[in-house]
Amino acid sequence: MSTIVLTPTPDWHRAVGIPRSAAIEYPFGRPLGEVGDKEGQRKVLLDTLSVLEKAQRPGEIRHLSFTWPEEPKETKWQPPEMSPLIKVYLDEIKAARKAKG
């Protein structure tokens, strides 16, 4: 079976090797678009199907042109409570930001 992944994280795909990827700059949990936006969801789906049909080589990543209408802080994609994983690694996560400067 042929596969296409509609992904908000193309950097992972580049690093781990995924057959075909359509990258989208949408918040986690809503890769097709906003609640109730039938036309917007349809456009994303059509572009994803286009990548499925047109991709020529293993590992191909095509970047879709869509732009989310809200600023990142307004998207509220995160869970209401901090995830168990983040709690475990919180010190490491804070250190990663300091190390990056």
């Binding site: 079976m1 042929s2 596969t3 296409i4 992944v5 509609l6 908000p8 994280t9 193309p10 950097d11 992972w12 580049r14 690093a15 781990v16 090797g17 995924i18 057959p19 990258a23 989208i24 700059e25 918040p27 986690f28 949990g29 809503r30 890769p31 097709l32 609640v35 109730g36 039938k38 969801q41 349809r42 789906l45 059509l46 572009d47 199907l49 499925l52 049909e53 080589r57 293993p58 590992g59 095509r62 970047h63 879709l64 042109s65 732009t67 509220k76 994609w77 995160q78 869970p79 409570e81 995830s83 168990p84 994983l85 983040i86 475990v88 690694y89 990663a96 930001r97 190390a99 990056k100």
Partner: protein, 172 residues
């Protein structure tokens, strides 16, 4: 496609500290080994297509994904999967996921698993057919390979039985 110019920033929606941490796991080098490749066997307008999402959706009639064990064991993620029939709507589903806000998919299943949109494309002849069954699993699989045999294999077996030619995957 209208998409050629934009380069997607996969870190844009992450808080800066989380973005910095995630980047420590991602090598700068591109993947250099062989990547599996199955050519599309027929045009999309003739293909049977299934959807797979990692967003923790389950039918209300099925058991939900196990969040309680993950709360006790933060590196463990439920490795089971659920079948989602093509007729399912947001009224029929639960969604459990400790890493995203599940409120949106509960309002509109199509933001994550676009069953309704696919059926519209089927009716218009743009795709051949939406498969009878789509699938959901729990995306948090931390250093775990049992998931391949416990979830991926049975999903693939069922897809083949339903004549699926191609799969659209939508990670949460």
């Amino acid at each position: 496609m209208s998409a050629a110019e934009k380069i997607v920033d996969g870190y844009r929606f992450l808080p800066p500290s989380l973005a910095a941490w995630v980047q420590t796991f991602i090598p700068n080098e591109n993947f250099s080994e062989a990547i599996p490749w199955t050519p599309l066997s027929k045009p999309v307008k003739q293909a049977t297509i299934a959807l797979v999402t990692s967003s923790g959706i389950s039918m209300k009639s099925d058991p939900p994904f196990d969040m309680e064990r993950e709360k006790r064991e933060p590196l463990w993620g439920d490795r089971s999967f659920r079948s989602i029939p093509r007729e399912a709507t947001e009224k029929d589903i639960d969604a459990n996921h400790l890493h995203i806000n599940t409120g949106y998919v509960l309002q509109d299943i199509n933001v994550m698993l676009p069953l309704t949109r696919m059926k519209e494309l089927e009716a218009e002849g743009i795709i051949g057919r939406l498969a009878p069954t789509s699938y959901s699993f729990y995306g948090f699989q931390w250093q775990n390979t049992d998931f391949l045999t416990e979830a991926i294999e049975p999903m693939c077996k069922n897809m083949k039985a339903e004549g699926v030619d191609a799969v659209i995957l939508t990670p949460a």
